[in-house]
């Protein structure tokens, strides 16, 4: 469970201050499938980064499973990212010289998992996302959809409870987007909390809760079905 209370975020300092989030209150229960929508520049990515421990809020409180994170040390945040969060980005972000298996296995290096087990688990997950026949390929030898599958496998490899995806289908065609969304639906059905950002209604329709942000505030929060 994630609980955000009155989260604000201001970029920059002094005259260059850019206030982005103006007090976000949000509770995410385990197993939810949430889509965050809103106009460009409204602060969706900023919010995702805060939820994913990639960035600090300027003010407000953050609880993970009832524990206040507060102003945790960088080392603690790194561990939280590694253990609790799986991040999927619009631009995929791969290690270009590593093959699919190594890319998927990479978070496990920082979890201190042995090489053999890392390879084992990476292979399992590549199978799960339907890339069993592309294990030894480099990112440059994969299509956009395949890269995003590798990225999802990587996000899942350390068995996190929360999957965050910032416009995961933003760079994909509608057919491929559909396949990726079916994968997210399946993962949610298996118990993962999924939070994704999207601009498209069809993508948001896969979620069972849709939050709309505008100018750094939640202006709509509705549950489907």
């Amino acid at each position: 469970m994630i609980k955000l209370t009155n989260i604000t975020k201001i970029y920059g300092k002094g005259d260059l201050e850019v206030p982005v989030l103006h007090g976000i209150d949000l509770t995410v229960e385990d197993g939810e499938f949430i889509a965050i929508m809103g106009p460009s520049g409204s602060g969706k990515s900023t919010l995702m980064n805060i939820i994913g421990f990639l960035d600090y809020p300027t003010a407000g409180t953050f609880e993970l499973n009832g524990e206040p994170i507060g102003s945790a040390k960088e080392r603690v945040l790194a561990r939280l990212r590694n253990e609790h969060i799986g991040f999927v980005f619009q631009q995929f972000f791969m290690f270009p010289r590593d093959n699919a298996i190594k890319n998927v296995a990479s978070p496990l290096i920082y979890a201190g998992v042995s090489k053999r087990e890392r390879t084992e688990r990476a292979k399992q997950l590549l199978d799960k996302v339907g890339l069993g026949d592309r294990m030894k390929h480099l990112p440059s030898e994969l299509s956009g959809g395949q890269k995003q599958r590798v990225a999802i496998a990587r996000a899942l490899v350390n068995n996190p409870s929360i999957l965050l995806a910032d416009e995961p289908t933003g760079a994909l065609d509608s057919k491929t987007s559909e396949q990726i969304m079916e994968l997210f639906t399946q993962l949610n059905a298996e118990g993962k909390t999924v939070i994704l950002v999207t601009h498209e209604e069809e993508i948001a329709a896969y979620a069972n809760r849709i939050i709309t942000i505008k100018d750094g505030l939640i202006i709509d929060d509705r549950r489907e079905r």
Partner: protein
């Protein structure tokens, strides 16, 4: 944290930029190779010089005359006192003295049947053979009667025997001509001088009294004392020199000994100074190399900003990133150091092969070389690694 893992990542990233890595390592390679070659040659030279110093006999010390006039009595010309067999006998009785050797030198043209050659002549006394442990191959050494009786006898060394006589021929008793005078060969000896300092023409021994008479030089030009205890060589030498000064009742001069310790200390000082000088040049080259490494690592950090952001996003801590880059730069410089050592060993082998200096590579220096270059990598890697570790993950990921 798994060091081996980080080392593998570092090696693959160095391998991915082969050309750049080699160019970056160049400064380190040259620096390390230079240091090791210099040290190896320095040690070789020192050993050679020491060997040369003690080439003849470790227990022997030379006694020579020093002109020391009283104030206001300095003359333009002075004459060294004459020494004779009698003086040698006196010195032989000084405590701690095992033997005394007096020799003089000359050179002469030797002719025998169709062969002729210019040979070094050493004038010796009968004591020479036991004191210097001369090995007589054929015939006999000199006896006291040969020196006292001005016997025109010679011993030739094995090289001269080879030059003038056939192997089957018996040289003993043959008459050879030296500067127009007939001499009788009484023996063949093995020269005690190490081969590389010896003339290939050959040498011969003659009674020193005969040399003095024939060439007009002093009967004893070089006087050396052999001590029974090599530890007390300087002491014994000094005692012998003082005894001789007293016996000769010298007024404006004295006998003294060469001081090996002083000489050796001087030599060591020179070599140390030279090593220090060249060492500092090598140090500067290593410094420049280190700055090159730092520069490349900074470029690498900028290039890999996104990779760093991604590593952080998947759970790498700041310390982990820091370590990764430190290991990378240390690996880079260690590799450079190893290549430098490789080059140095090739150079050392070549020097040993093609010059008289037996350059010796010290295994310790290899170890120091590698650790030192790793240290350079760590020192000059701190700045770039720190820069990498401080990147914020989102800024790094957003970097174009």
């Amino acid at each position: 944290m798994n060091l081996l893992e980080s080392l593998k990542i570092a090696l693959s990233s160095i391998w991915n930029h082969k050309v750049r890595s080699v160019l970056t390592m160049l400064g380190i390679i040259i620096g390390v190779a230079a240091v090791i070659i210099i040290v190896a040659i320095g040690q070789g030279a020192r050993k050679q010089l020491t060997d040369q110093m003690f080439a003849t006999d470790k227990n022997a010390i030379d006694i020579y005359y020093e002109y020391m006039p009283k104030e206001g009595e300095e003359g333009m010309y002075w004459q060294e006192p004459q020494l004779t067999t009698e003086d040698i006998q006196t010195l032989a009785e000084v405590p701690g003295v095992k033997a005394v050797v007096g020799i003089n030198h000359a050179g002469g043209q030797v002719v025998y049947s169709d062969t002729q050659g210019d040979l070094q002549i050493t004038g010796v006394g009968s004591e020479y053979f036991t004191a210097k442990k001369i090995k007589i191959v054929e015939g006999r050494p000199f006896y006291a009667a040969d020196t006292d009786g001005l016997n025109r006898a010679i011993l030739i060394d094995t090289a001269a025997r080879k030059k003038f006589f056939k192997e089957t021929e018996n040289p003993i008793g043959s008459i050879v001509d030296i500067n127009g005078n007939p001499f009788k060969v009484v023996g063949v000896y093995q020269s005690p001088v190490p081969e590389q300092y010896r003339s290939s023409e050959g040498e011969l021994l003659m009674p020193r009294t005969v040399v003095s008479m024939m060439f007009g030089n002093m009967e004893i030009e070089q006087l050396s004392v052999i001590a029974s205890d090599s530890e007390k060589i300087s002491e014994t030498g000094r005692l012998a020199a003082d005894t001789l000064t007293m016996k000769k009742k010298l007024e404006d001069g004295r006998y003294t000994t060469q001081n090996f310790e002083e000489y050796e200390a001087e030599l060591n000082k020179t070599i140390t100074l030279l090593t220090l000088l060249i060492g500092s040049i090598a140090g500067i080259s290593l410094l420049v190399g280190g700055i090159g490494v730092m520069n490349i690592m900074l470029v690498s950090v900028t290039e890999r900003t996104r990779e760093i952001g991604l590593r952080k996003a998947i759970g790498a801590t700041r310390a982990r990133i820091l370590l990764q880059f430190l290991i990378e730069s240390a690996t880079l410089t260690s590799l450079g150091g190893m290549i430098g050592i490789g080059l140095a060993s090739v150079a050392t082998i070549l020097v040993t092969k093609f010059s008289p200096i037996g350059a010796a590579m010290n295994p310790l220096i290899v170890l120091i070389g590698v650790s030192f270059s790793a240290l350079i990598g760590i020192i000059f890697g701190i700045l770039p690694a720190n820069k990498a570790s401080k990147l914020s993950p989102i800024d790094a990921l957003r970097y174009e």
